[in-house]
Amino acid sequence: MQSSLNIYNTFGRVTTDQFKQYILPLKNKLYRFALSFVSNEADAKDVVQDVMIKSWQRIEDIDAIKNLEAWCITMTKNRCLDLIRKKGRHNLDLDDQLHIASREPSPLEKTVTDDSMKRIESLIEDLPDNQRAVITLRDIEGYTYKEIAKILELDMNHVKVLLHRSRMAIKSKLEGLYTT
């Protein structure tokens, strides 16, 4: 993760180029993280857009924020939780089903066994919010325990416990599938 940033130009204002250089590259990480909460691609995209606009509007404070990436991810988590509260989980799941049906598979998706991949995806989706967030940040994005603890505002030992529980849950369900 990036450490402190000096994103101010000589006039003390952040230019569009600096937005492209520092904020926009976070889009995919934020998108995948948002997906782990809201499942629906359109909602995840809206959340990322919202977070980026918010970070742009609060650009004056960014100088004081030591880790822009962690700050954006925390904001993404909060926006997702707000959205879930607002829309309700049930609606999100229905939207998601419609979206999966219309999405174009990537080259890798075509080569792997779709069924087992989708099964794992749904196993992750079924995890409780905190476990799903930890597993996304650790296994997909590769953050350290310390970074995850900071992003999710949790104790590091709690992060380790959540990761252990989530992986064990996935393992037991996967083994159940392969033995039957």
């Binding site: 889009k27 995209k45 857009q49 997909i140 350290t144 252990h164």
Partner: protein, 161 residues
């Protein structure tokens, strides 16, 4: 030996105790070995993570974002400039139309003659000189009027004859 190592790493992984380096080791082992029944869960899980990392936003998202945050370009309009030009023109016209008819420099010419000399004798001589000049010019003017008088006499004689 290799199998014992990977079994230990797998156990550690599911327990959530592996380091990032050990996870790289597992990934590397899985990519160089065929999928077996005993490692099927681990194999598919790592593959699903690769698949999840492929989920990205398109370029069109960047374009939308830039549009949203970019400052709006100010369009150049000639209208305010025309307004300023018209105001300046009105001020100029008003100034020339309403300024006093007596020129200040003309007044200054008259004032030249006031209290020019401090010495009264010299002032008297200057006045005398001026009056002499007026008198000379008047005499030369009278010569011309005398000629007119002759013309007038001749006209009277002709009328009488």
């Amino acid at each position: 030996m290799e199998n014992i190592r990977i079994d230990q790493l797998e156990q550690k992984f599911w327990n959530g105790q592996t380091t990032p380096e050990e996870e790289i080791e597992i990934k590397s082992w899985l990519s160089s070995h065929d999928k077996t029944k005993s490692k099927a869960a681990l194999h598919d899980y790592f593959q699903s993570l690769d698949l999840a990392r492929e989920k990205t936003l398109e370029q069109s998202f960047d374009d939308e974002m830039i549009k949203l945050i970019a400052p709006k370009k100010k369009t150049f309009s000639i209208r305010p400039l025309l307004r300023v030009a018209a105001a300046i023109l009105i001020v100029f016209v008003a100034y020339f139309a309403l300024r006093p008819t007596t020129q200040p420099d003309q007044m200054a010419d008259h004032s030249e003659f006031v209290d020019t000399f401090e010495d009264s004798e010299r002032a008297y001589l200057e006045v005398k000189k001026a009056l002499m000049m007026v008198s000379t010019n008047m005499n030369s003017g009278l010569k011309h009027t005398q000629m007119l008088g002759k013309f007038d006499e001749a006209k009277t004689q002709m009328r009488n004859n």
